[in-house]
């Protein structure tokens, strides 16, 4: 297909707004008479609040109120009303519900004052007496009481197939190992914030940091018993979220509560420290047992997952599905159990389950390849799966072989000496490692509206989000392409609950889902426009059909005689000055679910490890991606780069440390919780391999938000092994583990 906008490395249409500061985030919408709330968080992990004394805080001039469980307004009765669209099974946490403390840093009060500083000061004057109960936050110590949840929010682990125990026992080459990573926090640059504007009639306009305004809208209306029309949620920009904004967080609840009680607009913004007081990637331990024939055929695979959750919700993620997607194996057994602790419920974090599962799977495959004396790529190719064995379905597309080929060539893989500790440069040991990964390429249901006005300007809208991913830009490109308009003639609107419905932006499905809705809406406009163009006096299109014309450069022209056509504005002049408006709801095509739909990656990494000091540098990364059709190579590359950088963090830095004496995460700021800095990131190369897919969605595009991260950490771990001969199975790989 000839394209004008799709496939172009287009700059972000909102880039100028962002770099000039014009783009406003949830905590930046100012209204007259705004009050500020600051949350008080619990000092203990478990127990009861015996006494909470707000008198000193209330004495401070400018302090309006301190809300606690004692003076909060009545609650909507059923706890199901607090379930948001992304809530896992269980009973959602309700802020200020009663005197019970369920996790450390639980919000237990909200001080509201005329300024943020006063509110913060007042919060520090709230005196709390606790009756503490023994808490349990020690994951390792509690692993033996792991349980199978009644319901998996991620989906049941696939049932076993073949004879996994027998096949493992009989396999001549085996490995059995445990892989662990700690809890990790999202830490988007923008802190969570909600500005709740109290309108004259008691209606609320809510600016919220959220990955989908409809979730905030549903949550407020349900939790506060409000009518849908009484609440409008707006969220035009999100300063990163990575999953932390999938669920409405407690600052929203507290801000709405305070605004309704005080009949005044209220903003609550969390501090960086408070960003560690809610969801996180769960601490997870995985046991992998693999068996292979001497020739390197994978005979058996067993994966047992143990992951942390809270006492009140059973959070699970897709940790165990990746082997069945990636490798052919006839004897497989998978399990996923939960360990409930006195912590807040974990929350999807970039490639939830995939990052975790792929790390262990790809390290164990590397271990087995080493044991077999096989090249890691050769071993993987030998066990390449042509179908998804979890569901016994063919793939809609899978150009992973091409990822291997192009990635390996670019990286120079064939020059690798397979023996560990065989490559060095001064006191640095050099290691080359690789891994591959997959991520879901799903499509959900969404609506979009397209309005073409008589001046030829198009506005398309949908209540989706742009969490920094490039939604504004990509949707603008899709719309412009469909109607043959310039990017400047197209405006895309999102982040407003009054717009057509769209799901949460998560799971790398927005281009697929909302992009399809945008295209459908524009296609309808296209039909109407064509009819109008035919009515233009002396129209060269009068006898043509829609298939005979192209929409390009503001013109509708005959495909065979491009010089003959009608301009869009001329066509519009036949619409009595009215706009063309089309709203559509699109959903996955019939038959799509007969196929397994995934994006794939192969990541190649070079590390240099100081032999004496254990310091590791990731000096080179090549990430080859099979992600279907690439709508915007520039924003697409940014997504993969971001994934690679985060993968470096997962492998070597990220680690929220639980102090089990206190039941509290202790490194709760960006000085002590490390994510990569520029100096940690060296050469990173991204390759998109050609991949045609007519099944994933009409655009042929797969989401790229998560595929970039999944195979990075195992590739680094494998490179560290190749460099040092030392296998580190507990992330992050810090220098002390290599001494």
């Amino acid at each position: 297909m000839k394209t004008n906008e799709i496939g172009k490395p287009t700059n972000r249409v909102d880039g100028r707004h962002k770099v000039t500061g014009e783009a406003k985030y949830a905590g930046e919408f100012n209204v007259p008479n705004l009050a500020y709330g600051f949350a008080v968080n619990s000092a203990i992990a478990k127990g009861k609040i015996k006494k909470i004394d707000t008198s000193k805080a209330l004495q401070v001039e400018g302090v309006l109120e301190v809300f606690t469980h004692e003076n909060r307004p009545g609650y909507v009765w059923f706890d199901k009303n607090y379930k948001d669209m992304d809530a896992p099974p269980g009973s959602p946490f309700r802020p200020l519900y009663d005197n019970e403390v369920k996790f450390s840093m639980q919000p237990i009060a909200l001080a509201v004052a005329e300024t943020f500083e006063l509110a913060r000061y007042a919060a520090s004057l709230v005196e709390v007496e606790y009756e503490t109960s023994p808490h349990d936050t020690d994951f390792e110590a509690n692993i033996e009481r792991a349980y199978v949840p009644e319901e998996y929010n991620s989906g049941e682990p696939p049932k076993p197939w073949g004879q996994p125990d027998e096949a493992l026992a009989n396999a001549p080459v085996q490995i059995e190992e445990e892989y662990t990573h700690s809890s990790q926090h999202h830490n988007p640059m923008e802190m969570h914030a909600s500005t709740v504007v109290y309108e004259a009639d008691g209606k609320l306009t809510v600016y919220d940091k959220i990955q989908g305004v409809m979730n905030t809208h549903q949550y407020i209306t349900h939790a506060f018993g409000m009518q849908p029309e009484e609440v409008q949620v707006i969220s035009p920009f999100v300063g990163g979220a990575f999953g932390s904004g999938l669920r409405p967080q407690y600052q929203l609840f507290l801000a709405v509560l305070a605004a309704r009680e005080l009949k005044r607009s209220v903003r609550v913004t969390l501090t960086r420290q408070q960003m560690f007081s809610f969801g996180h990637r769960p601490k997870t331990m995985q046991r992998f047992a693999l068996g292979a024939s001497k020739e390197g055929k994978l005979e058996a695979l067993q994966q047992d997952v143990f992951a942390e959750t809270s006492r009140f919700e059973d959070y699970s993620e897709d940790v165990v599905i990746w082997a069945g997607v990636l490798y052919k194996c006839e004897n497989v057994k998978l399990s996923h159990k939960l360990v409930d602790l006195d912590v807040y419920t974990p929350l999807d974090m970039r490639a939830p389950g995939g990052t975790t599962g792929t790390f262990a799977l790809e390290c164990s495959m590397d271990e087995l390849a080493h044991k077999l004396g096989m090249d890691p790529i050769e071993f993987r190719l030998k066990n390449y799966s042509e179908k998804d064995q979890n569901e016994d379905k063919p793939f809609s597309s899978k150009e992973l072989r091409e990822c291997y080929r192009q990635g390996a060539e670019k990286f120079g893989w064939k020059k690798r000496n397979p023996a560990p500790r065989s490559m060095r440069e001064g006191h640095n040991l050099i290691g080359w490692g690789m891994a591959h990964g997959a991520w879901e390429a799903n499509q959900a249901q969404a609506s979009a509206k397209a309005v073409l006005t008589s001046d030829g300007k198009l506005t398309v809208s949908s209540a989706t989000a742009d969490i920094g991913t490039g939604t504004y830009t990509v949707m603008t490109q899709i719309a412009a392409e469909t109607l043959g308009l310039q990017l400047d003639d197209v405006t895309f609107k999102l982040g407003d609950s009054s717009l057509p419905d769209a799901p949460l932006e998560g799971g790398s499905k927005t281009v697929s889902t909302v992009g399809t809705a945008v295209k459908s809406a524009c296609d309808k406009v296209r039909e109407r426009l064509f009819e109008l163009a035919q009515q233009v006096e002396g129209s060269p299109l009068a006898e043509a059909s829609l298939e005979d014309v192209v929409f390009e450069g503001g013109q509708i022209s005959l495909r065979k005689e491009p010089s003959k056509g009608v301009s869009i504005t001329a066509a519009m002049s036949h619409n009595q000055g009215k706009a063309i408006e089309e709203e559509v709801s699109s959903k996955p095509a019939d038959g799509q679910s007969d196929y397994a739909r995934y994006a794939h990656s192969a990541t190649f990494v070079e590390v240099k490890v100081d032999e004496d000091l254990g310091t590791i540098r990731v000096t080179r990364v090549v990430s080859a991606i099979a992600g279907g059709r690439i709508i915007n190579p520039k924003t697409a590359k940014s997504q993969i780069l971001g994934g690679v950088v985060w993968g470096i963090g997962v492998a070597m830095e990220e680690d929220t440390v639980m102090d089990n004496n206190l039941g509290r995460f202790m490194n709760h700021d960006l000085d002590k919780y490390h994510i990569p800095v520029n100096a940690d990131v060296h050469e990173v190369e991204v390759i998109f391999v050609e991949e045609k897919d007519e099944i994933v969605n009409p655009l042929g595009a797969k989401g790229l938000g998560e595929i970039g991260i999944v195979s990075v950490a195992p590739a680094i771990a494998n490179a560290v092994f190749h460099a040092t001969g030392k296998r580190v199975r507990e992330l992050p790989i810090t220098l002390d583990k290599l001494l």
Binding site: D612, L613, T615, M652, D659, N667, K672, P676, N678
Partner: protein
């Protein structure tokens, strides 16, 4: 943050008067650490004395042939000062190994010495910490202590001093010039910071009414053989797990004088002159450096998560001394 009053001092005497006038007063210069701590109520001064207008912002020659760094010279200006780069490159390197460009532009040399520990518990007012709240207990000893001290600790505190600059100043045997009600005095660098003992809330031997006016660098800068080796969990913007300021005065391959100071391992920059002296008159070899390293960690104690620092410190000392000797490319 707690409300506070604020004045701007116009000269050193005025600053000393102002800070003495109220019990809970503090000087503020760059504010890169103090303001953070005030926001989270770890520091709760009732009065701030702004000293940024004092005429302490120059670097000058001393009569002894050294350099005097005014207390208000920024870390960035110090690190990039022509004479510092030429004569005290160890100091330049140490400064540039710390913080970020933005922070170094604000942070002052005097303030650098006064920064507080980065211990997790010190920063969290909901946890016991003897340094923040004397008598409340130390959460780190039996808690999470990966970043914390292995030398000179006490049963009350295992915090480390976070500065990189101070480690180089310790190795260079700088002197800290201070002025108080009783007049001016000079504190040798090794006596400026304290060990925690049973008063971990007191970081330095500066008296409450005293202000740092300058840091004097002696004439000898070890510009030919030096290194600042900082080992940390990421390549920048992280405090040291272990750092080593190493300086050698060589006659051919023979060591005339050696200096070794460690950062990230104790409540103050850690120097053992007797261990340095092991090298005096000896060949600058890996074996001899190894002996120094062993002597430095004599009596070191790990608390679990930070046990690795003992071995790491030894290896870092050997590497730093080798680098200082060879002046080869740094890590």
């Amino acid at each position: 943050m707690r409300s506070f009053t604020y004045t701007r001092a116009n000269d050193v005497a005025n600053a000393v008067d102002e800070v003495s006038a109220e019990k809970e007063s503090k000087f503020i210069a760059g504010g890169t650490n103090l303001l953070d701590l005030m926001k989270i109520q770890v520091e709760r001064p009732s009065h701030l004395v702004d000293i940024t207008r004092l005429a302490l912002d120059t670097i000058e020659e001393t009569a002894e042939g050294g350099l005097r760094l005014g207390a208000l010279v920024t870390n960035a200006d110090t690190a990039y000062h022509e004479q510092v780069e030429k004569r005290y490159p160890l100091l330049s390197h140490a400064i540039l190994a710390g913080a970020t460009a933005q922070l170094r532009n604000m942070a002052t040399d005097g303030g650098n010495l006064m920064q507080r520990t980065r211990c997790y518990y010190f920063y969290d007012t909901d946890t016991p910490c003897n340094k923040r709240e004397p008598g409340s207990g130390c959460s780190a000893i039996n808690g999470y202590n990966r970043d914390l001290a292995i030398l000179g600790t006490s049963e009350h505190c295992i915090a480390t001093h976070p500065s990189d600059m101070a480690v180089a100043l310790a190795a260079l045997e700088a002197n800290v010039r201070v002025t108080g009600k009783a007049g001016e005095r000079v504190i040798p660098f090794s006596e400026f910071h304290r060990l925690p003992g049973d008063t971990p809330h007191i970081d330095t031997n500066l008296k409450p009414d005293e202000i740092i006016t300058a840091i004097d660098l002696p004439a000898k800068g070890f510009a030919d053989h030096y290194t600042y080796l900082k080992l940390r969990d990421r390549a920048s913007y992280a405090f040291a797990l272990v750092s080593v300021a190493a300086a050698l005065d060589l006659d051919g391959d023979t060591v005339k004088e050696a200096r070794v100071a460690l950062g990230g391992v104790a409540h103050k920059p850690w120097r053992i002159p007797e261990a340095e002296a092991l090298l005096k008159g000896k060949p600058a070899t890996r074996e001899n450096f190894q002996k120094v390293a062993e002597a430095y960690v004599q009596g070191a104690k790990g608390y679990g998560h930070n046990d690795f620092k003992i071995e790491l410190a030894k290896r870092a000392i050997v590497r730093a001394l080798l680098q200082a000797k060879e002046m080869e490319a740094k890590l």
